[in-house]
Amino acid sequence: MANERLLILGGNSFLGLHLTRDLAAKYNTTPTYLTNRPSDFNFVRCNLLSKPDLHSLGQFDYVIQYSSIIAGSNKKQQNLEMVRNAVEYANTTQAKYIYISSSQVNFTIDSDYRQSKIEAERLIQEHSANFVIIRPSAPYGSPLPFAFTRQQPFHVLANLVSRLPVVPVIGNGQYLRQPVHVTNLNALVEKCLTAPTRNRVYEIGGPKQLTFNAIIDIISMARSKHTFKLHLPNFIFRIASHMTNFIDAELVNAVRSDEQSNNETWQELGGLDLIPFEQGVTDLFG
């Protein structure tokens, strides 16, 4: 495996960097970044919108794409263009292409981000010669010593719970999430590399669904404290979203959708011990 070449597009994202750290010793790994270069590993710059940038990277056995624009205008068009270029590149170099999509494709409330993921998946299914699509649900894991361009939602929440007696919640907080630990997600990615299966869509979430309120309670318990939840209407968060890049205005709307992952989808690759959130929550604090 050490000779197999692995390209991780968006290796400087939270999930990409976790995978880079997990697989660097096992594969000949090249992670990419756009604006913010981690000092460890052999990061190379790549703007996925530029085909010559991508093809400058050379030949790989596997291409894993995390890169995605989450906030801001025009994200749908740019996300699709990035996926189109990456698929074309993987086809040309005969690499297996693994696309990290999102459980948001199953959300009932629409958003540009969701649409970009749905259309990206369609594009991959129509044009990729050898692909796996993975839809993680609310992935979380330990913080890493790197200044990410965007803070991780679970880390922000854990920080708020740790520091404040009151935490603001969008709406009634009864919407469901199925948080998956990054260790489980990475294990699935690794299975996809070694398995002969191709052209599959896998969903991965934690072992059970939790309301957002329950997630706050579990984080609070891990800090041995009680946190009051301040339920606020959407419009306040929408206003706040214009002042920070942490949350996109349209995602504030979509957040009320329930999240449900079908963990049966990847059983053909063998079992995984899914980490319950009650157990994995301690990792949020480093």
């Binding site: 703007n47 085909k51 010559p52 940038d53 400058s56």
Partner: protein, 286 residues
């Protein structure tokens, strides 16, 4: 030459250079004119042109029929109009249509560090679109992405110095974003090396100061080079955007990208061309 002796001097390469009267074009001609036959084109007279051509006008390319050339150096670029994208794309389409018949041995495209780091503005989108068209054209190529081209006699550098002599310097935003200013002579040296070695690698190269500096540090270095210690006036981004719109000297959209770091990744340049660009601290007086 004596009868019977063969002239062993290799023939001077012929290069079609677009935007020959711009800052990059005229410096390339000034510094490489002794070793390269330039066929200069520009839409504005400036003394270096062989032909005055508006590259947006497809019919004007017939003016070039009387020339032959080995390589193309594409420097012409609309940076400040309201229709940056469309103007540059019109040039690009015409240029590639024309080059379809000429089949040059290589094309060097002077792109921009914006293509490495920021995506959402017309200027960057047009640079990336040209890179993609070049990639698909089948012409052997090199893409160079300099950042903040400068030399002692460059217009903006002189403008900054004139303000500094009056006791102040202008900085947009908080002045903390990193830049890798590129000395024009380093760019010229790279172009010379590509043309003389005929090394068209079909890759992208970033070039700039090996040590990145914040915008504020850059101003301090420029000020120190003329023995001044000016008061730095920090202009909020939205004010700068308004001023750019009024003065039409800079693309107003670029004000939106002020907060992004642009740090050159020089590894490919060093590996493939053994080139070590100068540090801004050294280059500022050259």
């Amino acid at each position: 030459m004596q009868a019977g002796l063969v002239d062993s001097t290799p023939p001077r390469p012929s290069v079609l250079i677009t935007g020959c009267n711009g800052y990059v074009g005229r410096n390339l001609i000034k510094l490489l004119g002794d070793t390269v036959n330039f066929i200069g084109v520009d839409c504005m007279p400036g003394g270096h042109e062989s032909e005055l051509i508006d590259l947006r006008d497809a019919t004007s390319y017939t003016q070039l029929d009387k020339y032959t050339f080995d390589y193309v150096l594409h420097c012409a670029w609309d940076q400040i109009s309201r229709n940056i994208y469309e103007n540059n794309m019109q040039c690009a389409r015409n240029l590639f249509n024309y080059l379809d018949q000429k089949i040059p041995q290589g094309l060097i495209f002077i792109s921009s560090s914006f293509a490495s780091t920021t995506t959402g503005i017309q200027y960057t989108r047009s640079k990336i679109a040209f890179e993609n068209m070049l990639f698909e054209s089948g012409i052997p190529f090199i893409i160079i992405r300099p950042d903040m081209l400068y030399s002692a006699d460059e217009k903006k550098m002189q403008e900054h110095r004139s303000y500094m002599k009056k006791g102040f310097a202008l900085c947009i935003g908080n002045g903390q974003s990193l830049r890798s200013p590129t000395h024009i002579n380093d760019l010229v040296q790279l172009v010379h090396r590509i043309i003389t070695t005929k090394q068209f690698t079909n890759k992208v190269y970033e070039i700039g100061s090996p040590i990145p500096y914040s915008q504020e540090q850059i101003l301090r270095i420029v000020a120190a080079s003329i023995g001044r210690n000016p008061f730095i006036v920090k202009i909020p981004t939205f004010v700068a955007q308004f001023l750019f719109q009024v003065t039409k000297k800079v693309d107003p959209e670029q004000a939106r990208t002020i907060g992004y770091d642009r740090v050159a990744d020089l590894r490919a340049l060093r590996e493939d061309f053994d080139l070590q660009p100068r540090d801004f601290n050294t280059g500022v007086t050259q």
